[in-house]
C-alpha cells in the first residue's frame, strides 16, 4: 500500500517512487574525440548518443544528454558500470560512476505538470516538452536533470544524493493539495 500525503479523498494527483535499482554513469567525451565516443557507444549498445536535450533507450542502457558532449548512462543495476563503460569508450571519454551520487525519482499522474510548474521555470507544456525530452534546470533551487517518460505524464527527476531529501520534501508540500501517493522509497 502506498502512503498518502495531503488530500486523502479520491485518486492521487501525483504518485512518486524512487528508482533505486539503477546504475548511473557520466560519460564526458574528451576533446576532439566526440565521434569516436559516439561510435563506440553505438557499436556496444546500438544507441545514438543524443546531441540535443533528449534521452534514448536501448535494450540494456539509456543515454540522456547531460550537457555538450556529455551523457548520463542509465541502466538497471549492474556490478560495475564504470568499468563497463570504460571498456566500451576506452580513451575517448572520461567515465564517472554516479550510481551513489544521484537519486532518481519517478513521478506520475494527472497533476504532475502542475506540481512541476511550482518548482521549475522551464515550459513543460506538451506542445513544447515531449516524452524523450530532457532538461537540466533548477527544481526548487536544486539543479536537477529531468526527462519525460510518457504522456501520463510521467517524469524522472534526478537530484544529487545530498539534496534528494530536500527535493522529496518539496514534492510532498507541492503535491499535497492534489494527494501524493508515495510508493517504495528510502527517502
Amino acid at each position: 500500500m502506498p502512503q498518502r500525503i495531503g488530500r486523502a479523498d479520491g485518486p492521487a494527483g501525483v504518485t512518486v517512487h524512487e528508482r533505486g535499482d539503477l546504475s548511473l554513469g557520466l560519460i564526458t567525451a574528451r576533446r576532439g574525440m566526440r565521434t569516436t565516443c559516439i561510435d563506440s557507444l553505438r557499436a556496444s549498445y546500438d544507441l545514438d548518443a543524443p546531441m540535443t536535450a533528449r534521452i534514448v533507450h536501448g535494450r540494456t542502457l539509456s543515454l540522456a544528454w547531460a550537457g555538450p558532449e556529455t551523457w548520463l548512462a542509465i541502466g538497471s543495476a549492474r556490478p560495475d558500470i564504470e568499468t563497463e563503460l570504460k571498456a566500451v569508450v576506452g580513451q575517448a571519454a572520461s567515465i564517472v560512476d554516479m550510481s551513489d551520487q544521484r537519486v532518481v525519482m519517478r513521478i506520475s499522474g494527472p497533476m504532475t505538470r502542475t506540481v512541476l510548474a511550482k518548482g521549475v521555470t522551464i515550459d513543460l507544456h506538451p506542445r513544447v516538452f515531449k516524452p524523450g525530452d530532457t532538461a537540466i534546470t533548477p527544481l526548487a533551487h536544486i539543479t536537477t536533470q529531468l526527462w519525460q517518460v510518457d504522456d501520463t505524464p510521467t517524469f524522472d527527476l534526478v537530484s544529487p544524493h545530498a539534496t534528494a531529501r530536500d527535493m522529496f520534501h518539496w514534492l510532498t508540500v507541492s503535491a499535497a493539495e492534489f494527494g501524493l501517493d508515495v510508493g517504495r522509497t528510502q527517502l
Binding site: A53, P68, T121, T137
Partner: protein, 89 residues
Amino acid sequence: MRIVCPHCGERPVDEFVPYGAAGLKRPDASASTSDWLDYVYLRDNKAGMHGELFYHVGGCRAWLIVTRDTRTHAIAEVVAARDQRDAAR
C-alpha cells in the same frame, strides 16, 4: 533578463553566473608590469556591444560568451565559449 543558452534554450538569468569580460588575452610571463596591470585590473567599461563570460551552472554547465549592449541590455548573441575557441584555431 533571459539568456538563450545554445544548449538548453531560453533560461532565466539566475541559472547563470557572470564571470566578466570575454576575449582577454593573457600577457606573456615576461610582459611588462603595465601590461599585466591592464590584463588583471583595467576594463574598458564600454557603452555599447560587450562580450562577457557566463557559466551555465543551473543547466548544461558550459561556459558561454554573451554579447549584449550595455546601454539597453539587449542580447545580440550567445555562443558556447568552446565553439568560439575551436573556431579561432
